[in-house]
Amino acid sequence: MSVELKFSRSNRIYRPSEALEGKIVVKTHSSISHYGIRLTVKGSVNLQVRGGSAGVVESFYGAIKPIPIVNRTIEVKPSGKIGSGTSEIPFSLNLRQRDENLERFYETFHGTDISIQYLATVDISRGYLHKSLSATTEFIVESDKADLLQRPLSPEMVIFYITQDTQRHPLLPEIKSGGFRVTGKISTQCSLSGPINGELTVEASAVPIQTIDLQLFRVESILLGDKIVTETSLVQTTQASDAGFIADGDVCRNLTLPIYVILPRLLTCPTTLAGPFSIEFKVAIVISFQSELSKLHKKSDPKTPRLWLAMETLPLELVRTK
């Protein structure tokens, strides 16, 4: 006996104004009777404080009460019987009720401290004698088209330049003395469905370059009492070297390299500034110079400034576009 939820869309992306549709698939060897099949949709913002700028006491309390977004149950089928074999029961549920327009549907997001999640649960209750059957599946919520930014994406680019003098951390002596200069520009606003655009030019570097990476950070802030706890973490730490690749090896000087980074799904969402919490992003251009030292610290925290690294961090606003 098993029950499963299948959504009408294979990518499971729905907008708040749309109906969540799909079917409940029940597989059973013998026919079963039940007291009703119910579908529950639940969405919430889960907040948690771990380390970061939070104090010891706060971290003890850890989880903070989640902020509910939606919680609705409908009866798909009144009590009855399900025949043996595979049965498919279709369902449809409007996410946003017409009368109550209070809820704000944040987009699905999975971060370190903040997680915005939408779950659909099916329950088939079978009275006290039998265990009720249930299944839960996550679906993804994206902003309504109507709510999207109406003005076009700002084409504004921020110009940056990185030299040995812009670095606030100590560098290896040969890097410091030899000098380097990397310039470029990068978009300040970026569509979630598009790439991060920009360009970069290595104008000079005495020490050969190992790699140039673009790292994407999320900045999650939670209002805790009268304090704001902020945590900055690398998005997709594990794939950092792949996702943010700009250059590999000692690239040709004065040749403009494109910056073109596709944003990972689920791990990003539009920049959100809500009352109790906020989700923001920033990018860092990290230049790694060839050095014996770097080989010894292969898997180090990217946030830590190292002697052979030079970096520049810039804010980035993510938006959902049509």
């Binding site: 294979s10 990518n11 790439p195 050969p208 370059i209 140039i212 594990t238 794939q239 070297s241 792949d242 996702a243 943010g244 690749f245 700009i246 250059a247 590999d248 090896g249 000692d250 690239v251 040709c252 000087r253 004065n254 040749l255 403009t256 390299l257 494109p258 073109y260 980074v261 596709i262 060839q290 080989k295 292969k298 898997k299």
Partner: protein
């Protein structure tokens, strides 16, 4: 037995075919064939493209269908295949490949097989272990290659087994191998192998998407597209190759796949290693060819980027990379094929306007004013020059010369660009002004060259142009330049080849040898040549000299004789193979073409010299015999008879023939005998015929002489001898039938004469004897020598002897027919013999029955309707209207 009296002239008239004027010349061109109806196969057009929806017009559908099939047709194009082969040949792989860090994908077994869990992240591919081993490892390249082949199979297998994640994962690992350029010369081979795998993967993906698109509804399609989405824009170099491999699939996702191409070009700049990035661009160019239509803008960007990179490699002298320890020269040579291929792609089928656009995109077409500042990396320039349409070359010649002049760097030798320009200009006839300007400029430039090699390489390319435009002063200048440099330093082997090509061009340009030798420096240049090149040039000179009729100038003859002698001696001493007998043939031709005119003694002396000098050449000796024979005939034709000279010619031939290989001797003896008969030298004549017949004895020993043509040739020569013997007067010291008898004895005693040959020869002897018995012979050669009919007029014993010889010949003839193994052949030779007998003898009863038997034999071997059989029976009944005729007609 009695010979049939014959009237040859009457018979000739009776049998002559009526002559009719033909309407058309048999060799004139045939009338044009009927126009063929063109059959066009439209192929299977009932294809429905699901991506097009229903709003398309039929035209668009069929077009798209074509495109689809084109891309589906995943066989690599011919060009790419040959390019890959050349690439691998160009960089032969040494036995061992050192790999600075052994990629785990090359390790056999290992953890390749245990990663069934599909949710492993791609980042695993960055194996941290890899950096732990710093030591350089080596594996043999065979091992490397065989491992790659295994991987290819593995990828296909797992793809087909629906385990596509494994397949992709392996592909990524394979693509990653291309990151390591420290394998030096192995890199191109590695590239070929890896891209082969990538191409295959691209096809698998394409096939799958296409199948999905064809057979499932929209929902599944979307899902699938999402499936490749994750593989698409991933931003790391090792994914480049994957993304490129699936480039054709982009059309399912985007309206403008070209945009992604432009992006990829830009991203390739992020690859720091020049070689790796060059090959990445190469693969991109290759993959883009699969797209139904594409712009070349991205390729131009590629070339520009490569140029910038090359410039930096060449200029950065002090910078030493620890990772990039490749020798700079090797690096450039590794990159060269990529430039070559991309250039080819760019200029493939461009219009003039487009070419100009490309040139200005490449930054090479600036205003006339600031030409001086434009320069290019010479290796890029070289391949550009190679691919530029020739019209563009000639219309922009000034700029191009400037470019070559200012592009002087280590990546490519400047003189090779000048050389290439020369060859390109010669491709099509350019205006005289342009050519003159170029030649003058180039001659100025090369005047400064010190090295003969460089000088020759450039000059070689311009020789054709100079000759074409008849610039004698330039020609003299360059010849002087060559001889000056050759005098100073001598000529090396490599230079010899250029020199050879140049001299051959000169020789083929001029019509007469005298013109070439009148060039001041030419003899001197010929003198510095040696070895194989000298042979080639000498052969050319020889052929040229014999091309235009007879050679009568004694100095020319002397020079050519010396040249021939050198060639001949080179065969002897240098062990140079004269495989196709070219040298022998040319020398023979030279000897044949020599003509001293009235100075016949000199000519004969020349022939004697030749015999002494060219002892090794068999073919030549034959020519010598022919020449001396024709010399004798020529002497005979003269008003004053030089009988002694003719005698010495014939003696020369007589002495020369025995040193020639046996199977040619018979013909030569016969030919000389004919000349002797014409000259009336009866004593020589008898000796020559004797030698001819006796050389049939020697033939037996030579076994190789058995090809059907040879045999037929010999038989016809022997028959010719029989015909010739009719004119040969009898010698009273010898029996009347001395020669026919000798011939008969030889032929019947030599077992290797096949039955068919025997029949033919014996028939010829019988006909000879019959003819000799006639009161009037059919032909004479020399009216001063009386024929046998006059010599033996009224001599009854003469006729007796002829008859007595004809008896054993006839017997042998009949038995030879029975020995013929092949049935069809037996029938024909029986008829031949029958005809011979019937026309030679008066048919008495005995002979009639013989003829009848022969006809029976023929009947048993061939169909009764055979025309030859019919006409033979007719002849028989005509010759003997009495008994035999009736017998024959009854039996028929």
């Amino acid at each position: 037995m009695e010979f049939r009296p014959r009237n040859y002239s009457a018979e000739n008239e009776a049998h002559a075919l009526p002559r009719v004027r033909a309407a058309a010349h048999p060799l004139s061109a045939p009338p044009p064939p009927l126009a063929q109806v063109e059959v066009v196969d439209r192929g299977n057009t009932n294809f429905f493209d699901p991506l097009r929806g229903t709003d398309n017009d039929s035209n668009a559908t069929s077009l798209d269908h074509d495109n689809m099939n084109e891309s589906v047709d995943h066989q690599p194009t011919k060009e790419w295949t040959s390019f890959r082969r050349l690439l691998m040949q160009r960089f032969p792989v040494s036995k061992m490949v050192s790999v600075s860090s052994m990629p785990d994908v090359l390790m056999r077994g290992g953890k390749l097989h245990d990663k069934s869990s599909t949710n492993m992240h791609l980042e695993e591919l960055d194996d941290p272990q890899k950096f732990a081993d710093e030591g350089v490892k080596t594996i043999t390249w065979q091992e490397y290659v065989s491992r790659l082949h295994e991987l290819k199979d593995e990828i296909t297998r797992s793809w087909l087994a629906e385990d596509r994640v494994t397949s992709l994962k392996l592909s990524i690992k394979v693509a990653k191998l291309l990151m390591d350029t420290s394998v030096f010369e192995f890199y191109p081979t590695l590239f070929v192998l890896v891209t082969d795998i990538m191409d295959m993967l691209g096809n698998l993906v394409w096939q799958r998407i296409k199948r999905k698109a064809e057979f499932s509804e929209d929902g599944a399609l979307c899902c699938n597209l999402a499936g490749i989405r994750f593989k698409g824009p991933v931003n790391h170099s090792k994914f480049f190759y994957l993304e490129l491999a699936i480039l054709p699939c982009w059309r399912f996702l985007l309206d403008q796949p070209l945009d992604s191409l432009q992006r990829l070009v830009m991203m390739t700049r992020g690859l720091g290693d020049p070689v790796a990035s060059a090959y990445c661009r190469l693969y991109m160019a290759h993959c883009a060819q699969k797209l139904p239509s594409h712009d070349i803008g991205y390729l131009v960007t590629c070339v520009n980027d490569l140029r910038v990179i090359l410039m930096q490699i060449l200029s950065a002298k002090e910078r030493t990379d620890k990772n990039v320890t490749l020798d700079r020269k090797l690096q450039v040579s590794l990159m060269e094929p990529t430039i070559e291929y991309i250039m080819k792609c760019i200029f493939n089928g461009l219009s003039q306007r487009q070419v100009n656009e490309v040139l200005s995109e490449l930054g090479l077409m600036k205003n006339q004013q600031d030409l001086g500042s434009v320069s290019c990396v010479s290796i890029v320039l070289h391949h550009l020059l190679k691919e530029l349409p020739i019209e563009v070359v000639s219309s922009n010649i000034v700029q191009i010369l400037r470019l070559i002049e200012f592009s002087k760097d280590n990546s490519f030798d400047q003189h090779m660009n000048y050389r290439l320009l020369g060859f390109r200009l010669y491709e099509r006839k350019s205006s005289v002004d342009i050519v003159n300007a170029v030649i003058e400029k180039v001659i100025q430039v090369i005047a400064l060259y010190d090295s003969l090699d460089e000088y020759l390489k450039v000059v070689d390319a311009y020789t054709d142009l100079i000759l074409q435009n008849q610039k004698d002063n330039h020609l003299n200048t360059i010849l002087e330049g060559i001889s000056k440099r050759a005098r100073n330093k001598g000529v090396t082997e490599d230079e010899m080849l250029s020199l050879q090509s140049l001299v051959v061009k000169l020789l083929s340009h001029f019509k007469h040898l005298e013109d070439v030798f009148s060039l001041v420096q030419f003899p001197e240049i010929i003198d510095v040549m040696y070895g194989k090149s000298q042979d080639v040039v000498f052969l050319h000179i020889l052929n040229m000299a014999t091309r235009n009729g007879h050679i009568s100038d004694p100095t020319s003859i002397q020079m050519l004789f010396e040249i021939s002698q050198t060639l001949h001696d080179n065969i002897e001493f240098m062990n140079v193979k004269d495989d196709d007998g070219q040298v022998a043939h040319s020398i023979s031709r030279f000897v044949h073409m020599v003509d001293y005119g009235a100075e016949m003694e000199c000519h004969l002396a020349f022939l004697v010299d030749c015999r002494g000098a060219f002892g090794r050449l068999n073919e030549l000796k034959e020519t010598l015999v022919h020449s001396s024979n024709s010399l004798a005939i020529q002497a005979l034709k003269c008003a004053k008879k030089h009988l002694s000279f003719v005698k010495s010619c014939i003696t020369f031939s007589e002495v020369t023939i025995p040193s020639i290989s046996a199977h040619r001797q018979f013909d030569l003896f016969l030919e000389t005998a004919e000349v002797a008969l014409l000259g009336g030298l009866v004593s020589h004549l008898d000796g020559l015929i004797d030698s001819a017949i006796s050389c049939l004895h020697i033939l037996d020993i030579i076994d190789g002489y058995r090809t059907p043509t040879d045999v037929e040739g010999l038989v016809s020569s022997i028959r010719k001898l029989c015909g010739f013997l009719i004119m040969v007067p009898g010698n009273f010291s010898l029996p009347v039938t001395y020669f026919p008898n000798n011939l008969f004895t030889v032929v019947s005693s030599q077992s290797w004469f096949e039955p068919k040959m025997r029949t033919q020869i014996f028939s010829a002897i019988i006909l000879l004897l019959t003819t000799l018995s006639q009161k009037r012979l059919p032909y004479h050669a020399n009216p001063q020598i009386p024929g046998n009919n006059i010599l033996y007029y009224g001599d009854s014993s003469y006729n007796q002897e002829l008859v007595s010889l004809s008896k054993p010949v006839l017997e042998n003839l009949l038995s030879a027919i029975q020995q013929e193994p092949s049935q069809a052949a037996r029938g024909i030779i029986a008829l031949e013999a029958c005809n011979c007998i019937a026309s030679s003898f008066m048919l008495n009863n005995e002979l009639s029955s013989v003829c009848l038997t022969l006809v029976e034999t023929a009947k048993s071997c061939m169909s009764a309707q055979d025309k030859y059989l019919q006409s033979t029976i007719q002849l028989l009944s005509k010759q003997s209207p009495t008994s035999v005729g009736t017998m024959v007609s009854i039996s028929v």
